[in-house]
Protein backbone atom coordinates (compact mmCIF):
# COMPACT_ATOMS: atom_id res chain seq x y z
CA UNK A 1 0.00 0.00 0.00
CA UNK A 2 1.31 3.39 -0.99
CA UNK A 3 0.61 5.95 1.70
CA UNK A 4 2.07 9.13 0.22
CA UNK A 5 -0.32 10.93 -2.11
CA UNK A 6 1.36 13.29 -4.56
CA UNK A 7 -0.67 16.31 -5.63
CA UNK A 8 -0.64 17.10 -9.36
CA UNK A 9 -2.10 20.54 -8.78
CA UNK A 10 -0.46 21.56 -5.51
CA UNK A 11 -2.91 23.92 -3.78
CA UNK A 12 -1.31 27.23 -2.93
CA UNK A 13 -1.45 29.19 0.29
CA UNK A 14 -2.62 32.69 -0.70
CA UNK A 15 -3.23 33.90 2.83
CA UNK A 16 -2.85 32.86 6.46
CA UNK A 17 -3.28 34.31 9.89
CA UNK A 18 -2.30 33.57 13.49
CA UNK A 19 -4.36 34.77 16.45
CA UNK A 20 -3.50 34.26 20.11
CA UNK A 21 -4.03 35.25 23.73
CA UNK A 22 -1.90 36.52 26.60
CA UNK A 23 0.78 33.83 26.86
CA UNK A 24 1.12 33.67 23.08
CA UNK A 25 1.56 37.45 22.84
CA UNK A 26 4.30 37.24 25.46
CA UNK A 27 6.02 34.27 23.86
CA UNK A 28 8.91 34.43 21.37
CA UNK A 29 6.50 34.50 18.40
CA UNK A 30 4.16 37.13 19.88
CA UNK A 31 5.27 39.85 17.46
CA UNK A 32 4.62 37.63 14.45
CA UNK A 33 0.99 36.97 15.40
CA UNK A 34 -1.58 38.98 13.43
CA UNK A 35 -3.81 39.58 16.44
CA UNK A 36 -3.61 38.87 20.17
CA UNK A 37 -6.17 39.54 22.86
CA UNK A 38 -4.32 39.66 26.15
CA UNK A 39 -7.58 39.22 28.08
CA UNK A 40 -8.08 35.84 26.32
CA UNK A 41 -11.83 36.63 26.17
CA UNK A 42 -12.12 38.07 22.65
CA UNK A 43 -15.00 40.11 24.02
CA UNK A 44 -17.14 37.07 24.85
CA UNK A 45 -18.85 36.06 28.09
CA UNK A 46 -17.75 32.41 28.15
CA UNK A 47 -14.45 30.74 27.26
CA UNK A 48 -16.20 28.44 24.81
CA UNK A 49 -17.54 31.41 22.87
CA UNK A 50 -14.15 33.15 23.13
CA UNK A 51 -12.61 30.25 21.23
CA UNK A 52 -15.27 30.53 18.53
CA UNK A 53 -14.73 34.27 18.21
CA UNK A 54 -10.96 33.74 17.99
CA UNK A 55 -11.52 31.39 15.04
CA UNK A 56 -13.83 33.90 13.38
CA UNK A 57 -11.22 36.65 13.78
CA UNK A 58 -8.54 34.36 12.32
CA UNK A 59 -10.52 33.56 9.17
CA UNK A 60 -11.78 37.12 8.77
CA UNK A 61 -8.23 38.48 8.92
CA UNK A 62 -6.91 35.85 6.51
CA UNK A 63 -9.66 36.71 4.00
CA UNK A 64 -9.04 40.45 4.30
CA UNK A 65 -5.28 39.94 3.87
CA UNK A 66 -5.89 38.44 0.42
CA UNK A 67 -8.92 40.69 -0.30
CA UNK A 68 -11.17 37.69 -0.77
CA UNK A 69 -14.89 37.67 -0.13
CA UNK A 70 -16.29 34.89 2.07
CA UNK A 71 -18.54 34.02 -0.87
CA UNK A 72 -15.49 32.76 -2.75
CA UNK A 73 -14.97 30.02 -0.18
CA UNK A 74 -16.27 26.77 -1.58
CA UNK A 75 -15.23 24.78 1.46
CA UNK A 76 -14.34 25.48 5.06
CA UNK A 77 -12.57 22.70 6.97
CA UNK A 78 -12.27 23.46 10.66
CA UNK A 79 -11.83 21.85 14.04
CA UNK A 80 -11.07 22.57 17.67
CA UNK A 81 -10.76 20.78 21.01
CA UNK A 82 -14.24 21.27 22.38
CA UNK A 83 -16.92 18.59 22.55
CA UNK A 84 -18.68 18.24 19.20
CA UNK A 85 -16.29 20.87 17.73
CA UNK A 86 -18.68 23.55 18.88
CA UNK A 87 -16.15 26.39 18.81
CA UNK A 88 -15.80 26.00 15.04
CA UNK A 89 -19.52 25.93 14.36
CA UNK A 90 -20.40 28.94 16.54
CA UNK A 91 -17.41 30.90 15.30
CA UNK A 92 -17.68 30.24 11.60
CA UNK A 93 -21.41 30.21 10.90
CA UNK A 94 -21.42 33.86 9.81
CA UNK A 95 -19.25 33.06 6.76
CA UNK A 96 -22.01 30.98 5.22
CA UNK A 97 -19.48 28.68 3.54
CA UNK A 98 -19.92 24.91 3.03
CA UNK A 99 -18.43 23.46 6.21
CA UNK A 100 -16.70 20.28 7.29
CA UNK A 101 -16.12 20.06 11.04
CA UNK A 102 -13.32 17.66 11.91
CA UNK A 103 -11.75 16.28 15.07
CA UNK A 104 -8.17 15.12 15.15
CA UNK A 105 -7.29 16.32 18.65
CA UNK A 106 -4.10 18.34 18.25
CA UNK A 107 -3.49 16.95 14.75
CA UNK A 108 -6.46 18.94 13.44
CA UNK A 109 -4.42 21.56 11.56
CA UNK A 110 -2.61 19.06 9.33
CA UNK A 111 -5.76 16.96 9.00
CA UNK A 112 -7.73 20.00 7.79
CA UNK A 113 -5.02 21.04 5.30
CA UNK A 114 -4.80 17.47 4.05
CA UNK A 115 -8.57 17.18 3.51
CA UNK A 116 -8.79 20.55 1.76
CA UNK A 117 -5.78 19.72 -0.48
CA UNK A 118 -7.30 16.48 -1.61
CA UNK A 119 -10.66 18.17 -2.28
CA UNK A 120 -8.84 20.75 -4.42
CA UNK A 121 -6.80 18.02 -6.14
CA UNK A 122 -9.96 16.09 -6.96
CA UNK A 123 -11.45 19.19 -8.56
CA UNK A 124 -14.40 19.25 -6.19
CA UNK A 125 -13.44 22.73 -5.04
CA UNK A 126 -10.93 25.33 -6.21
CA UNK A 127 -10.75 27.68 -3.23
CA UNK A 128 -11.22 26.88 0.44
CA UNK A 129 -9.99 27.64 3.92
CA UNK A 130 -8.90 25.79 7.05
CA UNK A 131 -9.33 27.06 10.59
CA UNK A 132 -7.99 25.43 13.76
CA UNK A 133 -8.44 26.73 17.29
CA UNK A 134 -7.71 25.78 20.88
CA UNK A 135 -8.36 27.80 24.02
CA UNK A 136 -6.53 27.16 27.27
CA UNK A 137 -9.44 28.03 29.54
CA UNK A 138 -12.04 26.10 27.53
CA UNK A 139 -9.76 23.04 27.36
CA UNK A 140 -8.86 23.11 31.06
CA UNK A 141 -12.56 23.18 31.91
CA UNK A 142 -13.34 20.28 29.64
CA UNK A 143 -10.36 18.01 30.14
CA UNK A 144 -8.90 18.82 33.54
CA UNK A 145 -9.89 20.82 36.63
CA UNK A 146 -11.70 24.15 37.14
CA UNK A 147 -9.60 27.15 36.12
CA UNK A 148 -9.04 28.52 39.62
CA UNK A 149 -8.42 25.10 41.19
CA UNK A 150 -5.17 25.13 43.15
CA UNK A 151 -3.27 22.06 42.14
CA UNK A 152 0.28 21.28 41.14
CA UNK A 153 0.91 20.20 37.57
CA UNK A 154 3.22 17.36 36.69
CA UNK A 155 6.53 18.42 35.10
CA UNK A 156 5.55 16.55 31.91
CA UNK A 157 2.21 18.39 31.61
CA UNK A 158 1.82 20.84 28.75
CA UNK A 159 0.03 24.16 28.44
CA UNK A 160 -2.92 24.20 26.02
CA UNK A 161 -2.39 27.26 23.85
CA UNK A 162 -5.02 29.93 23.32
CA UNK A 163 -4.34 30.18 19.62
CA UNK A 164 -5.88 29.93 16.20
CA UNK A 165 -4.47 29.53 12.72
CA UNK A 166 -6.31 30.03 9.46
CA UNK A 167 -5.21 29.31 5.91
CA UNK A 168 -6.71 30.10 2.51
CA UNK A 169 -5.75 27.65 -0.24
CA UNK A 170 -6.59 27.70 -3.92
CA UNK A 171 -5.83 26.17 -7.29
CA UNK A 172 -7.54 29.04 -9.16
CA UNK A 173 -4.91 30.46 -11.51
CA UNK A 174 -6.47 33.91 -11.66
CA UNK A 175 -6.43 34.17 -7.86
CA UNK A 176 -2.87 32.88 -7.65
CA UNK A 177 -1.70 35.40 -10.27
CA UNK A 178 -3.25 38.32 -8.42
CA UNK A 179 -2.35 37.20 -4.91
CA UNK A 180 0.39 38.99 -2.98
CA UNK A 181 1.46 35.69 -1.47
CA UNK A 182 1.47 32.56 -3.59
CA UNK A 183 4.88 30.92 -3.38
CA UNK A 184 3.97 28.18 -0.94
CA UNK A 185 2.07 25.01 -1.80
CA UNK A 186 1.31 21.57 -0.43
CA UNK A 187 3.03 19.08 -2.73
CA UNK A 188 2.17 15.75 -1.11
CA UNK A 189 0.69 14.28 2.02
CA UNK A 190 0.45 11.08 4.02
CA UNK A 191 -2.50 10.21 6.25
CA UNK A 192 -1.48 9.15 9.76
CA UNK A 193 -2.06 5.78 11.38
CA UNK A 194 -3.42 5.31 14.89
CA UNK A 195 -0.43 4.38 17.04
CA UNK A 196 -0.75 3.31 20.66
CA UNK A 197 0.94 5.70 23.08
CA UNK A 198 1.33 3.01 25.78
CA UNK A 199 0.33 5.38 28.59
CA UNK A 200 -2.96 6.47 30.12
CA UNK A 201 -1.36 9.50 31.75
CA UNK A 202 -3.19 12.60 30.52
CA UNK A 203 -0.33 14.73 31.85
CA UNK A 204 2.14 13.09 29.53
CA UNK A 205 0.55 13.43 26.11
CA UNK A 206 3.78 14.50 24.43
CA UNK A 207 5.26 11.09 25.19
CA UNK A 208 2.10 9.31 24.03
CA UNK A 209 2.18 11.13 20.68
CA UNK A 210 5.89 10.77 20.05
CA UNK A 211 5.52 7.18 18.77
CA UNK A 212 2.96 8.23 16.18
CA UNK A 213 5.29 11.02 15.03
CA UNK A 214 8.19 8.57 14.79
CA UNK A 215 6.09 6.07 12.83
CA UNK A 216 4.96 8.74 10.37
CA UNK A 217 8.44 10.17 9.80
CA UNK A 218 10.07 6.74 9.38
CA UNK A 219 7.32 5.50 7.05
CA UNK A 220 7.36 8.70 5.01
CA UNK A 221 11.07 8.44 4.26
CA UNK A 222 10.81 4.70 3.58
CA UNK A 223 8.39 5.41 0.75
CA UNK A 224 9.40 8.86 -0.51
CA UNK A 225 12.22 9.39 -2.99
CA UNK A 226 13.10 12.47 -0.93
CA UNK A 227 15.59 12.23 1.90
CA UNK A 228 15.62 14.15 5.19
CA UNK A 229 18.43 16.29 3.75
CA UNK A 230 15.98 17.60 1.12
CA UNK A 231 14.02 19.28 3.91
CA UNK A 232 14.92 22.36 5.91
CA UNK A 233 12.91 21.17 8.87
CA UNK A 234 10.80 18.26 10.01
CA UNK A 235 8.20 19.98 12.15
CA UNK A 236 6.01 18.22 14.72
CA UNK A 237 2.93 19.76 16.34
CA UNK A 238 3.00 19.68 20.10
CA UNK A 239 5.28 16.99 21.46
CA UNK A 240 6.73 19.41 23.99
CA UNK A 241 9.94 18.71 25.87
CA UNK A 242 9.27 15.08 26.82
CA UNK A 243 7.86 14.00 23.45
CA UNK A 244 10.65 15.78 21.61
CA UNK A 245 13.36 13.99 23.56
CA UNK A 246 11.68 10.63 22.90
CA UNK A 247 11.21 11.31 19.17
CA UNK A 248 14.79 12.51 18.73
CA UNK A 249 16.15 9.48 20.54
CA UNK A 250 14.12 7.15 18.30
CA UNK A 251 15.22 9.02 15.15
CA UNK A 252 18.87 9.03 16.26
CA UNK A 253 18.66 5.26 16.30
CA UNK A 254 16.57 4.60 13.19
CA UNK A 255 16.88 7.64 10.93
CA UNK A 256 19.79 9.76 12.19
CA UNK A 257 19.65 12.17 9.23
CA UNK A 258 16.14 13.24 10.29
CA UNK A 259 16.94 13.81 13.96
CA UNK A 260 18.94 16.98 13.36
CA UNK A 261 16.15 18.48 11.23
CA UNK A 262 13.48 18.20 13.88
CA UNK A 263 11.68 21.17 15.39
CA UNK A 264 8.54 21.11 17.54
CA UNK A 265 5.88 23.86 17.55
CA UNK A 266 5.19 23.09 21.22
CA UNK A 267 8.73 24.22 22.03
CA UNK A 268 8.63 27.27 19.74
CA UNK A 269 5.44 28.98 20.94
CA UNK A 270 6.57 29.74 24.49
CA UNK A 271 9.78 30.53 26.30
CA UNK A 272 9.83 27.72 28.85
CA UNK A 273 12.38 29.58 31.00
CA UNK A 274 10.22 32.70 31.34
CA UNK A 275 6.71 31.25 31.04
CA UNK A 276 5.21 28.72 33.43
CA UNK A 277 4.23 26.20 30.79
CA UNK A 278 6.04 23.10 32.12
CA UNK A 279 6.83 20.84 29.14
CA UNK A 280 5.73 23.31 26.45
CA UNK A 281 2.64 24.10 24.40
CA UNK A 282 -0.12 21.73 23.33
CA UNK A 283 -3.53 22.11 21.74
CA UNK A 284 -4.44 22.14 18.09
CA UNK A 285 -3.99 25.92 17.85
CA UNK A 286 -0.30 25.42 18.59
CA UNK A 287 0.81 23.90 15.29
CA UNK A 288 -1.69 26.04 13.35
CA UNK A 289 -0.51 29.34 14.80
CA UNK A 290 3.19 28.44 14.62
CA UNK A 291 2.79 27.38 10.97
CA UNK A 292 1.08 30.69 10.21
CA UNK A 293 3.38 32.95 12.21
CA UNK A 294 6.77 31.27 11.88
CA UNK A 295 7.06 28.79 9.01
CA UNK A 296 4.81 30.13 6.24
CA UNK A 297 6.33 33.65 6.23
CA UNK A 298 9.82 32.14 5.97
CA UNK A 299 8.71 29.76 3.22
CA UNK A 300 7.05 32.61 1.32
CA UNK A 301 10.28 34.63 1.49
CA UNK A 302 12.26 31.65 0.25
CA UNK A 303 14.37 31.61 3.40
CA UNK A 304 13.45 27.95 3.70
CA UNK A 305 12.25 25.71 0.86
CA UNK A 306 10.71 22.53 2.18
CA UNK A 307 9.25 21.44 5.44
CA UNK A 308 7.63 18.20 6.47
CA UNK A 309 4.79 19.23 8.74
CA UNK A 310 3.12 16.80 11.16
CA UNK A 311 0.62 18.05 13.71
CA UNK A 312 0.47 15.42 16.42
CA UNK A 313 -2.78 14.37 18.05
CA UNK A 314 -3.45 12.59 21.34
CA UNK A 315 -6.72 10.76 20.79
CA UNK A 316 -8.44 10.40 24.14
CA UNK A 317 -11.35 11.61 26.21
CA UNK A 318 -11.51 12.34 29.95
CA UNK A 319 -13.57 9.15 30.38
CA UNK A 320 -11.27 6.92 28.32
CA UNK A 321 -8.28 7.95 30.43
CA UNK A 322 -10.13 7.45 33.73
CA UNK A 323 -11.13 4.00 32.53
CA UNK A 324 -7.46 3.20 32.10
CA UNK A 325 -7.36 3.10 28.31
CA UNK A 326 -4.07 4.12 26.79
CA UNK A 327 -3.86 7.31 24.74
CA UNK A 328 -3.64 6.76 21.00
CA UNK A 329 -1.44 9.03 18.93
CA UNK A 330 -1.75 10.16 15.34
CA UNK A 331 0.51 12.23 13.11
CA UNK A 332 -0.70 13.08 9.60
CA UNK A 333 2.02 14.47 7.35
CA UNK A 334 2.05 17.24 4.75
CA UNK A 335 5.00 18.33 2.65
CA UNK A 336 5.00 22.10 2.22
CA UNK A 337 7.17 23.42 -0.60
CA UNK A 338 8.16 26.95 -1.53
CA UNK A 339 8.81 28.01 -5.11
CA UNK A 340 10.10 31.47 -4.15
CA UNK A 341 12.92 32.84 -6.30
Amino acid sequence: MKRIKKLDTPPRFISWCAVGGYEEKNGPLGEAFDLCDESDTFGQKTWEMSEGEMGRCALNLALSKCSLSHETLELLVAGDLQNQCVASSVGLDSFGAPFLGIYGACSTCTEALLILSSMIESGAVTTGACVTTSHNSAAERQFRTPLEYGGQRSPSAQWTSTAAGSFVLTSDEELIKNAKLSNVAISDFMIGRIVDGATADGSNMGAAMSFAAAESIIEYFKESELKPRDFDYIVTGDLGKVGTSILRAILEERLPSAAGKHLDCGNLLYDAKRQDVHAGASGCGTSASVLASYFLPRLEEGEIRDILFLSTGALMSPSSVLQGNTIKGIAPVIHIHSSAD
Binding site: T46, T145, G150, P155, A198, T199, A207, V242, A249, I250
Partner: protein, 150 residues
Protein backbone atom coordinates in the same frame (compact mmCIF):
# COMPACT_ATOMS: atom_id res chain seq x y z
CA UNK B 1 14.88 0.93 21.43
CA UNK B 2 11.80 -1.12 20.90
CA UNK B 3 9.05 1.15 19.59
CA UNK B 4 6.74 -1.58 18.33
CA UNK B 5 5.61 -3.20 21.58
CA UNK B 6 3.82 -1.67 24.55
CA UNK B 7 6.51 -2.85 26.97
CA UNK B 8 9.20 -1.19 24.88
CA UNK B 9 7.27 2.05 24.67
CA UNK B 10 6.56 2.05 28.40
CA UNK B 11 10.25 1.68 29.09
CA UNK B 12 11.11 4.58 26.77
CA UNK B 13 8.45 6.82 28.37
CA UNK B 14 9.77 5.98 31.84
CA UNK B 15 13.30 6.82 30.79
CA UNK B 16 12.46 10.24 29.34
CA UNK B 17 9.69 11.51 31.64
CA UNK B 18 11.03 13.90 34.30
CA UNK B 19 10.28 12.96 37.87
CA UNK B 20 8.25 15.18 40.18
CA UNK B 21 10.57 16.99 42.58
CA UNK B 22 9.38 15.23 45.73
CA UNK B 23 11.83 16.77 48.19
CA UNK B 24 11.25 20.36 47.02
CA UNK B 25 7.48 19.90 46.90
CA UNK B 26 7.38 18.29 50.35
CA UNK B 27 9.47 21.08 51.83
CA UNK B 28 7.31 23.80 50.27
CA UNK B 29 4.14 22.01 51.39
CA UNK B 30 5.57 21.81 54.93
CA UNK B 31 6.38 25.53 54.98
CA UNK B 32 3.07 26.72 53.48
CA UNK B 33 0.97 24.23 55.46
CA UNK B 34 2.85 25.21 58.60
CA UNK B 35 2.28 28.91 57.98
CA UNK B 36 -1.44 28.37 57.44
CA UNK B 37 -1.63 26.35 60.67
CA UNK B 38 0.33 29.02 62.52
CA UNK B 39 -2.06 31.69 61.21
CA UNK B 40 -5.02 29.57 62.30
CA UNK B 41 -3.56 29.17 65.80
CA UNK B 42 -3.00 32.93 66.07
CA UNK B 43 -6.60 33.47 64.95
CA UNK B 44 -7.85 31.07 67.64
CA UNK B 45 -5.84 32.89 70.31
CA UNK B 46 -7.20 36.22 69.05
CA UNK B 47 -10.81 35.04 69.08
CA UNK B 48 -10.41 33.73 72.65
CA UNK B 49 -8.70 36.97 73.65
CA UNK B 50 -11.76 38.88 72.43
CA UNK B 51 -13.96 36.85 74.73
CA UNK B 52 -15.08 33.84 72.72
CA UNK B 53 -15.44 30.37 74.17
CA UNK B 54 -12.84 27.77 73.10
CA UNK B 55 -15.47 25.88 71.07
CA UNK B 56 -16.80 28.96 69.27
CA UNK B 57 -13.26 30.16 68.52
CA UNK B 58 -12.40 26.84 66.87
CA UNK B 59 -15.51 26.94 64.70
CA UNK B 60 -14.82 30.51 63.70
CA UNK B 61 -11.20 29.69 62.76
CA UNK B 62 -12.51 27.10 60.29
CA UNK B 63 -15.04 29.53 58.88
CA UNK B 64 -12.44 32.28 58.53
CA UNK B 65 -10.03 30.01 56.66
CA UNK B 66 -12.80 28.84 54.33
CA UNK B 67 -13.81 32.44 53.65
CA UNK B 68 -10.24 33.58 53.00
CA UNK B 69 -9.48 30.66 50.65
CA UNK B 70 -12.74 31.23 48.82
CA UNK B 71 -11.99 34.93 48.46
CA UNK B 72 -8.46 34.27 47.20
CA UNK B 73 -9.90 31.77 44.70
CA UNK B 74 -12.39 34.30 43.38
CA UNK B 75 -9.63 36.90 43.07
CA UNK B 76 -7.59 34.42 41.02
CA UNK B 77 -4.75 34.29 43.54
CA UNK B 78 -5.25 30.89 45.18
CA UNK B 79 -4.11 28.80 42.22
CA UNK B 80 -0.98 30.92 41.90
CA UNK B 81 -0.04 30.28 45.52
CA UNK B 82 -1.01 26.60 45.28
CA UNK B 83 1.30 26.16 42.29
CA UNK B 84 4.17 26.37 44.79
CA UNK B 85 2.45 25.35 48.01
CA UNK B 86 0.96 22.10 46.63
CA UNK B 87 -0.26 19.95 49.50
CA UNK B 88 0.45 22.87 51.83
CA UNK B 89 -2.72 24.63 50.68
CA UNK B 90 -4.55 21.48 49.56
CA UNK B 91 -4.58 19.49 52.81
CA UNK B 92 -5.91 22.16 55.23
CA UNK B 93 -9.56 23.23 54.95
CA UNK B 94 -8.36 25.86 52.43
CA UNK B 95 -8.03 23.17 49.74
CA UNK B 96 -11.60 22.04 50.25
CA UNK B 97 -12.85 25.62 50.06
CA UNK B 98 -10.90 26.22 46.85
CA UNK B 99 -12.18 23.06 45.19
CA UNK B 100 -15.80 24.09 45.82
CA UNK B 101 -15.42 27.78 44.91
CA UNK B 102 -13.39 27.16 41.77
CA UNK B 103 -15.93 24.64 40.51
CA UNK B 104 -18.80 27.03 41.30
CA UNK B 105 -17.07 29.80 39.33
CA UNK B 106 -16.50 27.47 36.42
CA UNK B 107 -20.06 26.19 36.26
CA UNK B 108 -21.59 29.66 36.56
CA UNK B 109 -21.96 30.02 32.80
CA UNK B 110 -24.12 26.90 32.64
CA UNK B 111 -26.83 28.25 34.97
CA UNK B 112 -27.60 28.06 38.68
CA UNK B 113 -29.37 24.68 38.71
CA UNK B 114 -27.67 22.41 36.17
CA UNK B 115 -24.42 24.38 36.26
CA UNK B 116 -23.47 25.49 39.76
CA UNK B 117 -26.03 23.28 41.53
CA UNK B 118 -25.16 20.05 39.79
CA UNK B 119 -21.42 20.54 39.46
CA UNK B 120 -20.33 22.36 42.60
CA UNK B 121 -19.03 19.20 44.31
CA UNK B 122 -17.41 17.62 41.24
CA UNK B 123 -13.92 18.09 42.66
CA UNK B 124 -14.84 18.05 46.36
CA UNK B 125 -17.22 15.10 45.96
CA UNK B 126 -14.71 12.35 46.80
CA UNK B 127 -13.70 14.17 50.00
CA UNK B 128 -17.32 14.54 51.05
CA UNK B 129 -18.33 10.96 50.19
CA UNK B 130 -15.35 9.19 51.68
CA UNK B 131 -15.16 11.66 54.58
CA UNK B 132 -18.72 10.81 55.58
CA UNK B 133 -18.23 7.11 54.85
CA UNK B 134 -15.17 6.90 57.08
CA UNK B 135 -17.07 8.88 59.75
CA UNK B 136 -19.82 6.28 59.70
CA UNK B 137 -17.28 3.45 59.84
CA UNK B 138 -15.52 5.06 62.79
CA UNK B 139 -18.91 5.52 64.50
CA UNK B 140 -19.67 1.81 64.19
CA UNK B 141 -16.27 0.85 65.56
CA UNK B 142 -16.68 3.31 68.41
CA UNK B 143 -20.17 1.94 69.15
CA UNK B 144 -18.87 -1.61 69.30
CA UNK B 145 -16.03 -0.55 71.59
CA UNK B 146 -18.26 1.49 73.88
CA UNK B 147 -21.26 -0.78 74.34
CA UNK B 148 -20.09 -4.25 73.50
CA UNK B 149 -16.42 -4.58 74.41
CA UNK B 150 -16.58 -2.41 77.55
Amino acid sequence: MDIYTNEGKKEIIKKFTPKTKVLKNTLLAFIFGGLISLGAELLREAYIYFGMSEKDALTLVGVTLILLASLLTALGLFDRIARYAGAGTLVPITGFSNSVTSQALDAKSEGLILGVGAKIFTVAGPVILYGIASGVLYGIIYFIYLYIIR
